[in-house]
């Protein structure tokens, strides 16, 4: 069957286009471009199918409509329309190269309609998705029905030829097109892993409804069709009867009128019957009493059976019957046997037979039936589509709207309102959903309020755990603040006196914020304080605290910390840094600078970490500012950070402010920078002021030299440089140098005997008392140079001794000279006031 080829080509092309869409370059093409390409491809198939049909009865049986249907249903509305137009145009012009003419209009329009139908159904009924194969088949059938109806309509003048064509062409064309469309859809389904039948539960209302509606409609259609069939059948019969009756009665009347003259009657009868038409191809035959034909051709006087009519009982008996009889009558001319139906009536001794080809009689029936069946198909299909679309509009779309709104509620937006009010049911549904959400919101708010209360309580506990500020004392001042990002925070500061002469202070930051960090913070604070109060050095405190915090730390939290322990008598500050921000230190007459000494690892991060301490000497007037990363990392709405530079700048702007004003001023500056953005991290600040004390502070500069005479110029160079920095008058500077030289030369000559060693010279200046302190130390033989008696300066030159002059000069130059021997070190301390 030739038709198989275009069917196959349709399927292959469908599969090809579907699979090609999986490839990236094809997938990336814009939608309309793809549609146009598909439209053109399938338009080509449609044209191809036109030429690849089977000729029959002056027209071509083909599967042209399958291509636009496939394109439109499977790939998209624009493709369907485009291919339908191309196919239709091709058909229209195909008369110039051999296409049939009498179906020209119908076929062209049908193809275009096929495209439009596929496009419309895809958009309105299938939500722009490919339908199932069963739908594809049904749509193809309906399309061919329309096609046939169009053929009828456009050939009203030649209805019998059209009817014959339609009668024979309907099944092949329906079959061919539906197989083409159905198989194409099945192929695509196979390759997209959909399978033939979908599970009940994943079907939507739409599909369920479609199926059931379809069943109802099909049943209704079958009932109406059957009814129509029966009706049409009966009516055809009646009509034929009518025709027969009329014909026979006419002849009967004529015969009765002429019944007197028997001789002439036969001729008259022949005349009368010869020109009497029954329908188009029917005839009237007259039989005499022997049932022989009264006719003037070859069959004259032949028994009626010779033309194929076997006389039924009633005829043999000479009785008129009202029944219809069937016989295969041989056409005298063509010798073809055609089935006829006939009635007979006995009139004036003649038997009148009125006969008509069954085909003709039935033609009316068949044509009407076919037309009405087609119309019913069309009407029911249209009804189906309309009902479906209507249901979709009224119910399914509204359900989708409700669903979408519910989805937004699920995503967290509890303020969304469902507002679908197209009818009472949906109104009621909307209201019920809204009131449910409102109730839920209320429950949520109540639960949140309960939590808030607990958090407030926790915040108070945490606040009272942090020390408030120290009672006023003369040696130092501490002022600190912790501002949590949430109700409770993970930052903390702490300060306490460890003894009369030592004070410890620290700042720490637990990873994270909120309740977990707050709980860890309380633990860490307690552990550190306990260890500090046991008298450990600061690095040991951190090492031990780290050990303890690593135990039972399954949550993997860690703490950064900076801790300092200050000896108030010496100003010596021992401090350690566990991954924390560098503090800012301001020396008495200087600016704030970052104290960047290498930070150790965080606390509670890893077991076994050992920490190192560093040292520096604080002098009264010095300030130390500790903070957590909430300060430099404060973020504004443009995601910019406050930063270390900005912090340093601002701190130097308000460098001398009282601590109690300093912290609020800094916080205000941070707030100004952050603006509307919410506080991201806990902010902690601690200012430690080392106040002036009696006697002032001696800042010592130490330098060590080899105890050799050759180093003398270096030693004196160091002295000169340092004294110049103190603004020492030249005369005194020279005298001091002499004094230092005397001591140094002594050490160089005698301290280490035959061996070698070093001497350390420390120079310190007390800018309050204007005293310069010189501290010369060596590790040589214990020797107190002050023990040597002074030379008698009143002796004459002859009497003067050579030695002993040096230390004498030193003693005379300096305001005070003291000697001590500690831990194997000779210490000579000299003080000169300038």
């Amino acid at each position: 069957m030739r038709l198989i080829i275009p069917v196959l080509i349709n399927c292959i092309l469908v599969l090809g286009v579907y699979l090609s869409d999986k490839y990236a370059p094809v997938k990336k093409l814009p939608y309309m471009v793809k549609q146009v390409i598909i439209g053109i491809l399938f338009g080509g198939v449609s044209a191809f199918a036109s030429s690849y049909g089977v000729e029959w009865l002056g027209a071509v049986v083909n599967v042209r409509d399958a291509a636009p249907l496939s394109a439109g249903l499977i790939f998209g509305a624009p493709a369907g329309i485009i291919s339908g137009c191309i196919g239709g145009l091709y058909r229209w012009f195909s008369v110039y190269w051999g296409g049939g003419t009498y179906t020209r209009i119908a076929c062209s329009i049908a193809t275009v309609l096929a495209g439009l139908m596929a496009a419309g159904l895809r958009k309105l009924m299938f939500d722009n998705k490919k339908p199932t194969w069963s739908y594809g088949v049904c749509i193809a059938v309906v399309c061919e029905v329309i096609h046939m109806i169009l053929i009828f309509i456009t050939n009203m003048d030649n209805s019998s030829q059209a009817f014959e064509f339609v009668k024979g062409a309907t099944w092949p064309m329906m079959l061919g097109n539906s197989i083409a469309v159905g198989a194409s859809i099945i192929l695509v389904s196979l390759f997209s892993h959909e399978g033939f039948f979908r599970k009940k539960s994943s079907e939507g209302i739409a599909n369920t409804f479609q199926r059931r509606l379809l069943v109802c409609i099909v049943v209704a259609y079958l009932i109406t069709s059957t009814f129509t069939l029966i009706l049409q059948n009966g009516m055809a019969q009646i009509e034929t009867q009518e025709v027969f009756t009329v014909a026979i009665n006419d002849v009967e009347k004529d015969i009765r009128a002429k019944s007197d003259d028997r001789e002439m009657l036969n001729d008259f009868v022949i005349d009368v019957t010869k020109n009497r038409h029954v329908g188009t191809d029917g005839f009237i035959a007259v039989l005499d009493e022997n049932l022989c034909l009264v006719i003037d051709d070859a069959y004259e006087n032949k028994h009626v059976s010779s033309i194929g009519i076997k006389p039924p009982e009633e005829m043999l008996q000479g009785k008129t019957s009202t029944e219809l009889y069937y016989a295969d009558i041989v056409d005298g001319v063509s010798d073809v046997s055609v089935e006829y139906m006939y009635v007979f009536k006995f009139v004036e001794g003649y038997c009148l037979i009125a006969a008509m080809p069954v085909a003709e009689a039935m033609f009316m029936r068949d044509a009407s039936m076919l037309t009405s069946i087609f119309m019913q198909v069309l009407i029911f299909a249209t009804l189906f589509v309309f009902i479906y679309i209507l249901i979709k509009r009224v119910i399914i779309n509204n359900l989708k709207k409700v669903n979408d709104t519910l989805a937004r509620i699920t995503q967290g937006d509890l303020n969304v309102i469902v507002d679908v009010r197209s009818n009472t049911e949906f109104s009621s549904l909307s209201d019920d959903i809204n009131s449910t959400v409102t109730t839920l919101k209320r429950y949520i708010a109540e639960a949140a309020a309960r939590i808030d209360k607990e958090l407030e309580y926790a915040k108070q506990i945490q606040h009272s755990a942090l020390p408030t500020n120290f009672p006023e004392n003369e040696e130092f001042e501490i002022y600190a603040q912790m501002i949590a990002a949430k109700e409770v925070g993970g930052d903390f500061y702490d300060f306490y006196k460890l003894s009369d002469t030592t004070v410890a202070f620290l700042v720490a930051d637990v990873s994270g914020k909120g309740i977990p960090a707050a709980m860890f913070m309380m633990t860490a604070k307690t552990i550190i304080k306990d260890l500090a109060e046991s008298g450990m050095a600061v690095n040991d405190i951190f090492t031990k605290a780290n050990e303890k915090l690593c135990q039972n730390n399954e949550s993997g939290m860690f703490v950064t910390a900076w801790m300092g322990i200050l000896d108030l008598t010496t100003g010596k500050l021992q401090f350690a840094n566990a991954g924390h921000n560098p503090p800012l230190i301001k020396r008495a007459n200087g600016d704030f600078e970052y104290l960047r000494l290498r930070a150790g690892f965080v606390l509670a991060g890893m077991d076994g970490v050992r920490y190192r301490a560093s040292e520096l000497v604080l002098c009264p007037g010095d300030r130390l500012f500790l903070y957590t990363d909430g300060v430099p990392e404060a973020t504004n709405t443009e995601n910019k950070l406050y930063g270390e530079d900005r912090l340093l700048d601002f701190m130097n702007q308000i460098a001398s402010a009282e601590a109690t004003e300093f912290l609020p001023a800094l916080k205000a500056n941070i707030d100004e920078f952050v603006g509307e953005a919410p506080q991201f991290d806990d902010i902690t600040m601690l200012m430690f002021d080392y106040k002036s004390k009696e006697g002032g502070c001696v800042r010592m500069m130490n330098k060590t030299f080899p105890a050799k005479v050759e180093a003398l110029s270096d030693v004196l160079g160091f002295v000169d440089q340092t004294l110049e920095g103190y603004g020492c008058p030249m005369k005194i500077q020279t005298a001091i140098c002499v004094a230092i030289e005397e001591v140094f030369v002594n050490v160089a000559h005698y301290a280490y005997g035959e061996g070698e060693g070093d001497m350390t010279l420390g120079i310190g200046f007390n800018d309050e008392s204007r005293e310069i302190t010189f501290r010369m130390t060596d590790n040589g033989i214990p020797f107190d140079p002050l023990k040597k008696p002074d030379p008698d300066i009143n002796l004459s030159a002859e009497e003067r001794e050579i030695g002993g002059l040096g230390i004498f000069i030193t003693k005379k130059t300096m305001d005070s000279v003291t000697y001590a021997y500690e831990n194997g070190t000779n210490i000579l301390t000299m003080i000169k006031r300038i």
């Binding site: 050759e710 005369k731 002499v738 030379p791 030159a797 000069i809």
Partner: protein
């Protein structure tokens, strides 16, 4: 420290410029003991001398003792700092200072 010697028939003038401390004193000592043998009159010009320590004083003392026996020695143009040392140590009385 630089040592400049100007000899004439009557006297020898030693000009010192710089510092007379433990490291430079030996050089002066050598000069006085060797380079000016035979001089009866020694003048030490301290106009360029800004610093003196006990090592320098020792050299001066030994020079004074020596010159006292064979002639005379005097020290001229002493700056304030050096003068203070002389006074502090009683050398102001031992040396002839102009």
């Amino acid at each position: 420290m630089t040592i400049e010697i100007k000899k004439n028939t009557e006297e020898t003038i030693i000009e010192l410029v710089g510092r007379l401390d433990t490291t430079t004193a030996p050089a002066l000592d050598k000069t006085i003991n060797e380079d000016i043998a035979g001089t009866k009159k020694l003048i030490l010009d301290f106009s360029g001398l800004e610093y003196i320590s006990s090592a320098g004083l020792r050299v001066l003392l030994s020079a004074q003792k020596k010159m006292q026996k064979i002639g005379a020695m005097k020290v001229t143009n002493v700056c304030e700092a050096v003068m203070e040392v002389f006074e502090m140590t009683g050398f102001a009385d031992i040396l002839v200072i102009e």
